[in-house]
Amino acid sequence: MNFTRRTMTLGGFATAAAATVPFRSGRAQAEPTIKIGCLTDMSGPYRDLAGPGAVAAAHMAVDEFASKGFKVEVLVADHLNKPDVGATIARQWFDRDGVDVIVEVANSGVALAVAGVAQEKNKVYLNSGAASSDLTGKSCNANTIHWVYDTYMLAKSTGGAMVKAGGDSWYFITADYAFGHALQRDTTDFITGAGGKVLGSVAYPFPGTSDFSSYLIQAQATGAKVLGIANAGADTISTIKQAKEFGIKMKLAGLLLFISDVHSLGLETAQGIVMTDAFYWDLNDHTRAFSDRYTAKMPGTRPTMVHAGVYSSSLHYLKTVTAMGVAEAKKSGAATISRMKAMPTDDECFGKGSIRIDGRCIHPSYLWEVKKPSESKGPWDYCKLLATTPADEAFRPLDKGGCSLVKA
């Protein structure tokens, strides 16, 4: 059995390695080239919320820089949700393939590893998919920007709203890795801060768990009012489905839910669930315009906030490179990042925003409720806006994160 397990890992490595081979052309390159590495989950539970859509979003940003005097290449790899695989690919990209910036990386465990590699090699890492607020907290560094959302934002928006609505006792079902623990920790702070209680929690093995019924029964037995679902992607989908199946009477707090999850659950099951996203395709004319272009590339789907983040962060990076010059931008990742922080952000997905010294990109967060089937006009018309948290309140205050870049 040991042998077969190892074969699996090797097989996984081989797939990942094959995917990293860039499209090289034989011709000489007169123009300087910027290389963007899109490191994401192409095959696991986060594929639909990031994956191929993230690659398409990176290409959308690149397409807008077609004739600015430099070339942009996009490389793609699958981190298989394994921090060691992700770190190895990041190293190879920086050392061997001349990658300048890594975008995306859905999975906090992998993201924390990649952030370390980016710092060590003085390159740039722009995170969209990973959630752990530690990336701009105790693990922050001068080479990393956290773009879309984080566990603090989710906890404050969804968790805060649930507590306000009377959900003062909680039980957590948590994915047993960096992300799940960070999400539970940040949400717990809000619950206890508001006078609520956490009655218990269970950490389940990630990835590879498909049956949550046993945890759901344990949760129900504690008598807690709210079930905090501290996981993401396919796992969240299974948890919610099975909660309905077993007639769980608790209120479900899907702390991290993407539009792709709602699509998979179907409105029949998902209706009424409250969720927090920093981007929704049908928010305004700008997001709709972006989403229509995205759908042209990825037929039959709408972008998640991760896809929007990959586009937005790649775009801002390329704007900075244009302003700095390619040679300067390639020299030092930290210098490029500090230029990015100095420039205000502005794009169709998140509107006008800014990047803080700790690497936190700042924009409003939105609280959504999933529509009833009767309210929806068709596929992907899933959410109605409940509340907006303004940009300066949506994220953890600068002095509370423990980031070493913030001067006391």
Binding site: G11, S43, D48, Y204, T209, S214, E245, F246, S264
Partner: protein
Amino acid sequence: MIMIFGIPGPLLFGQLLLGLINGAFYAMLSLGLAVIFGMLNIINFAHGALFMMGSFAAWMLLNYVGIGYFPSLILAPLLVGIIGVVLEKLVISRLYKLDHLYGLLLTFGMSLVIEGLFRNGYGSSGLPYRIPDILQGAVNLGFMYMPIYRGWVVVAALVVCLATWAIIEKTSLGATLRAATENAPLVQAFGVNVPRLVTLTFGGGVALAAFAGVLAAPIYSVNPNMGDNFINTVFAVVVIGGMGSIMGSIISGFGLGVIEGLTKVFYPQASATVVFLVMVIILMVKPRGLFGKTA
């Protein structure tokens, strides 16, 4: 309230029952593997992918053709079984004379390809499949709320498992099959078409996986990765039960489901590992597994 090891009794009973339900899937999947290994000596790593195809077949029958759950229980295993027969004829049959490892590598590769194709086509979030109306709802057992569908899964799995065991161990067809594995040339000399028997057996094993897939469709979302979550555990179940032993895989399937269920109460972080711990211990004490035959 009765407390057992510091856990309320009702909660523990609930977990035992849930363990049995998961065990039903382990038993069905490991049964197919045991049949294929016991009769054909192929370590079929594509079993998880074929299980997933069973689920997808049910989803496709419903969404493209409008065929509901109960006909799918027969049709989907039939369709996937036919695909299994084609795979056996085209590729797997070429490896019978070689070492087990070749079959393992081939089927492992096949599963990567099959899962990759489905991921490209349908993504990884999973597709919804409704529980049929007649099996909707739940009954209150006092200690827990039991969805009727899950009860149905246990019953269906038990029936299929015991029927398979009876066919192989108690009928003349099964006897011929077992004889063919022992000594193929001799059985062929009696006028039995052994290659065809082998192909059909493989198809039968695959159909079992697909049947489990249809049962799983309404519980788990129909997802290209769904087989992945099971296959490692199921291999451990087969090894614990004794490679190739039919009854062994049924009993250890249900048994390990229960052990895993209890682990989820006492130390959930280990629930994915406990099966392998049991495997190590069993192999140290009985290297051929619980019900393994001597070589």
